[in-house]
Amino acid sequence: MFKLSAALVAAFAVAGLTIAVPAAAQERTVKITGFGAKTGVVRVFGINSEAAMKAAAEEINRTGGVKLGDGATGRLTVEFLDDRCNAEEGISVVRRIASTDAFVAVGPTCSNVAESLFGILQKKAGDASDTGLQFPIIADVAAKGGLAKISEWSFRNVPSEFEMYKALFAWVKTQHPDLKTFYGGVEKDFAHSNATFGVMKAQAEANGYQVLGNTEWLLADTTFSTQIREMKRANADIVAIGAHPASTCGALKEMQRQGVKPKLLIGLTSSSSIETLQGCAAQAEGIIIPTSFAPVTDVAKKAADQVAKFNGSADLHSAAAYEVMFILKQVIEAQKIMAKPDTVAADRVKMRVGLAALKETDGLLGKIGRTPDREAIKPFLFVHAKGGAWTVLHTPAGS
């Protein structure tokens, strides 16, 4: 009797193993490579993007992973490489990624890297005369407008700052009809700050505000007294600051010292981060910034918590990286990407085609539209610094 039982147990065990072996073979690891700044003064962006990508990968894996082209289940892993916010490094990093089995890369942090990098990609897909790199890249952070049009292999999931500030100034006009004049402060040596300040100024003019001028400082400036004195003399109703957290805080502290109190303060999208609050929460009180992320929906709150578990912070940039992972899952499944070493070239083409075909994707704040030139139309809202935290001030209609 004992022998029979043992034989039966052995038989079931063998049968179980026989069934389990093909099941295990149906699961593959799919590595998604991100890249961005993990050293230098914009390191925080890379750290947050990496954390967001890992958090999203964990969530996707937890809910069943990705269905690959042959029916197997893909388990996502994330590798994140450092480009030091340097164009040459960025190109080198992407060439390295393209030499592996990767069929897509997510990044970079800096617009100067994205601009140069997109330039080495094949401009028009399928153009045999163009020997540019045929490798899809989807940007999560690089914010300078219109970069995706450089190549048909480049895609972005970053908000349109033009649309955000257009809506913001129009809203300010309705909410504060008493305000008449506008003055700016801009970080002169940072491309994103300059470009975005140009957008702010244009929108101020478009909404009938009298632009009294602007003052300038540098990203690493040590003194703001002369500049803020110019601001004080202008005595404008609205002051817009086109600068990143470090110099925004330097300028805001000097404004406090000199008693410059505009009726309305507007900031740069990238300053709606924890950094600004760490640097100058009291002085930033009341500053209004448009952003494409705030933990206001259930999925956004959940994403913020998950990113925090990976020692990152969810903001408008890292939230884009989180969303990108779900966009990639959608395209992998729709295009039946195989994620095998021998299908790399075909997978890259499928990924490009799939990303280009997207008309709408799910985002943390709602649906994200896609433009024909591979840019995103993201929902956004206006936040303001209140009591040492960013709180939602207004959600524009349609966002």
């Binding site: 050293t39 230098g40 003064v41 914009v42 390191r43 925080v44 750290i47 002169k188 300038e216 400082w217 540098l218 990203l219 690493a220 400036d221 040590t222 003194t223 703001f224 007294s225 002369t226 500049q227 004195r229 110019e230 003399r233 957290p245 470090a246 110099s247 805080c249 330097g250 502290k253 000097e254 010292r257 000199q258 950094e275 760490q278 640097g279 100058c280 929460a281 002085q283």
Partner: protein
């Protein structure tokens, strides 16, 4: 230029001169090392910013008054100064000045990256003393915090001068600066004197870093490189090896910086400050207060 412009100009220059006290403190560090070892320590400004950051990190989660943070910055500066000496000077042959120069460049980048990794590159709020005090003098206002920075800079300079001219360490330092071989023959320990000089300049640098943080209100890793350049300009204009020269040049550079900022804007400001450096190098290469050359 109307009256309002004139008032703004004078105010800008005054602010610049007061902030120039921090440049003077950095210049003193550069010049003291050069005076004693005849070598340039390019990591000095980065170490100063590093000391200010270290004081913040040590005080994380602890609510302490600003002076305590400043004292910690000075202490951290002294410790970092010693590390700089050991890493970049102690074991590198003295006969090869380029080797020590390059090692300090390497350390500058290393310190910068350590700060970036410790803080993720983010700006940190730095405490200040008397930041809400504004002393009105007619149409002009003098910032209390900058006055404090200026006063502390002056006190540091006096203490340093007393240390150099009234103590045995100062005597040894000056002896090393003038006649290293003779100083050794008299029983003065080269390594001990050099190490102590680095600790002392580190303390001054730590205070300079803290004062810069206090005057701006935030610390950023981005500050290291511009401060290194300013420190070097101050040292050259003041005269390599001259402490009074570093003091005067620091204040001058601070004032000139704001003067050019007022007239030419931020895009050209540093251009003119660099031109000032070239003017000195061509017409007065020894700087404002070039010390008398030693017998050797």
């Amino acid at each position: 230029m109307d009256l309002l412009d004139l008032i703004d100009l004078v105010q800008s220059i005054a602010d610049g001169i007061l902030f120039g006290a921090t440049y003077a403190m950095l210049g003193i560090g550069f010049t003291l090392i050069f005076g004693v070892m005849h070598k340039i320590n390019l990591s000095y400004a980065a170490a100063s910013v590093g000391a200010a950051y270290a004081s913040l990190l040590l005080m994380t989660g602890v609510s302490v008054p600003a002076p305590v943070v400043f004292v910690f910055a000075a202490l951290c500066g002294g410790a970092i100064g010693l590390v700089v000496y050991v890493v970049c000077f102690r074991f590198i042959p003295r006969a090869n000045p380029l080797a020590t120069l390059m090692s300090t460049v390497g350390l500058l980048l290393l310190i910068d990256e350590v700060i970036v990794h410790a803080t993720d590159g983010g700006a940190k709020s730095y405490p200040a003393l008397f930041s809400d005090v504004i002393i009105a003098a007619g149409a002009f206002n003098l910032r209390g915090d900058l006055m404090f920075v200026f006063a502390l800079g002056c006190v540091s300079m006096v203490v340093l001068l007393l240390l150099l001219y009234r103590t045995r360490l100062g005597l040894a330092t000056r002896a090393m600066s003038q006649q290293p071989l003779a100083a050794q023959l008299c029983g003065i320990s080269v390594d001990r004197t050099n190490a102590l000089t680095f600790v002392i300049t580190g303390v001054v640098g730590g205070m300079a870093g803290a004062m810069i943080g206090a005057a701006i209100g935030v610390l950023s890793p981005l500050l290291s490189l511009p401060l290194t350049v300013k420190g070097l300009i101050v040292t050259v204009i003041g005269g390599l090896g001259s402490i009074p020269g570093a003091i005067i040049a620091g204040l001058l550079v601070g004032g000139f910086e704001n003067f050019f900022q007022f007239f030419r804007g931020v895009s050209e400001r540093d251009l003119y400050v660099m031109l000032l450096l070239f003017v000195f190098l061509v017409f007065r290469p020894g700087g404002l207060f070039a010390p008398a050359a030693g017998r050797d």
